[in-house]
């Protein structure tokens, strides 16, 4: 079974990323052979829609199951439409440990998104721009 894991690095010993859409690396792991293929996540640079793009890429890469620390609403919708079940893994697990835990049935499946939109978006990507005092912060 092909498992896509949001990862903080490009090895099987890298910790699982707590974010999905903007995680630095994706690991496509064969759960039987435990061999992983690592792809740098281009969506980290996206102004918006990182979850949509990442989830689409996961589906097009042929993943049947996904593992991530958390999952946002858009990514969740895409993965659900593609028939991909998402499991959560604790932040201290490595990619290898997470897939092993999945194989042992120890991971919990997510029923839907567990974080809000733009959860993994760095501060510099925040659009609009009112400072303190104006009380009119807004998204553009």
């Amino acid at each position: 079974m092909k498992v896509i894991v949001s990862s903080t690095g490009n090895t099987m010993e890298a910790p699982v990323s707590p974010i999905f859409g903007r995680c630095p690396w994706f690991a496509l792991v064969d759960s039987e052979t435990m061999e992983g293929e690592f792809v740098e996540n281009e969506a980290t640079k996206a102004m918006g829609g990182a979850g949509v793009q990442s989830a689409q890429n996961a589906a097009r890469a042929g993943a049947e199951v996904a593992i991530s620390g958390n999952l946002g609403p858009n990514a969740s919708q895409v993965l659900t439409s593609a028939g991909i079940t998402v499991y959560t893994a604790a932040g201290d697990m490595t990619v290898r440990q997470a897939v092993e835990a999945l194989n042992e049935g120890k991971l919990e499946a997510l029923a839907g998104p567990n974080v809000s939109r733009d959860h993994g978006k760095p501060a510099g990507f925040t659009r609009g721009g009112s400072g303190m005092g104006g009380g009119m912060g807004r998204r553009s």
């Binding site: 969506a43 996206a46 102004m47 918006g48 829609g49 990182a50 949509v52 793009q53 989830a55 689409q56 589906a59 097009r60 858009n74 919708q77 895409v78 439409s81 593609a82 659009r127 609009g128 721009g129 009112s130 400072g131 303190m132 005092g133 104006g134 009380g135 009119m136 912060g137 807004r138 998204r139 553009s140």
Partner: protein, 290 residues
């Protein structure tokens, strides 16, 4: 002539400046006040316009014909906003990410994408105190302010308001897409700031956008002047940015404003200052043209 009142930071006094500037400008010719702060249009609260017409702003969005779609992924590939997910067996459109650019439709090799239009806001026009009035209103829950602002700007141009007289265009705060759209036909970007570290920080961003990126003529209004922080004045001097008006930090101004009165009508002693602002603005624009 079109003066776009912008700021960077929110709450610096764009509406205060736009309303009073438009009121004093009536003596020199036809004036239009356009409220382009479409997420929170407030000018009407001070100007009490009579609204004569209201029309919806329609935004295109792609619709995928599942029968024709071959799931090739080209639509998602060309979408600059990641608004489409092309999956092996289905294609999803995220309308709140879509900018309605039409690239997906134009690039679809199967001709499976068409556009449908939905209202995202309204454009209202009318009249107040002898001047034209227009405002854009973005529907609650809609994410794209830019098309509504674009519709306002086009209307002011098409109706000849900028050519016949003065259009005061009250822009939204910030320094991203909506502000860039608001500045697109500006003869002058009038940036309202306040002498605080926040005001200065966001003023610098607004200057970068208006002057450095868009090449607009920029002038400054310092509101809440006299707080003791000289950094904004120093910055304007260093950058050769003309400060056309300083509005003092005074309780009576805040009280008049809080009671919903335009400054120059509540406290007429500020009228000469706004006349000088208008005069300075006109000279800057004339100097650039000649």
């Amino acid at each position: 002539m079109r003066i776009v009142v912008a700021s960077g930071k929110g709450g610096t006094g764009k509406t205060l400046v736009a309303t009073s500037l438009s009121l004093v400008a009536r003596e020199s010719g036809p004036v239009a006040l356009v409220d382009a702060d479409v997420e929170a249009p407030n000018d009407a609260l001070f100007m009490h316009p009579t609204i004569a017409a209201r029309e919806p702003i329609m935004q295109p969005q792609p619709v995928v014909d599942a029968e024709l779609c071959t799931h090739c992924g080209r639509c998602a590939e060309v979408c600059q906003y990641n608004a489409i997910a092309s999956l092996p067996e289905s294609t999803l459109v995220f309308t709140d990410l879509c900018h309605g650019c039409g690239s997906c439709m134009l690039n679809c090799p199967a001709g499976a994408i068409t556009e449908e239009y939905r209202p995202i806001g309204y454009l209202e026009t009318g009249e107040t105190q002898g001047m034209r009035f227009a405002q854009g209103i973005l529907e609650v829950g809609e994410a794209m302010a830019t098309p509504v602002i674009r519709a306002l700007g086009k209307m002011a141009s098409n109706e000849g308001w900028d050519d016949e007289g003065l259009t005061v265009f009250d822009a939204p705060p910030g320094s991203a897409c909506p502000v860039i759209e608001a500045l697109s036909d500006a003869d002058l970007a009038l940036l309202v700031t306040e002498p605080t570290p926040f005001g200065l920080h966001d003023l610098k961003l607004a200057v970068q956008v208006a002057r450095d990126v868009l090449g607009r003529t920029v002038a400054i209004v310092i509101n809440k002047h006299g707080t003791g922080d000289p950094a904004v004045e120093e910055y304007c001097q260093e950058e050769n940015l003309p400060v056309l008006l300083r509005i003092p930090l005074e309780r009576r101004i805040a009280e008049a404003y809080s009671s919903g009165q335009p400054l120059v009508q509540a406290l007429p002693e500020f009228e000469p200052g706004f006349c000088e602002l208008l005069d300075g603005a006109q000279k800057l624009v004339a100097g650039r043209v000649s």
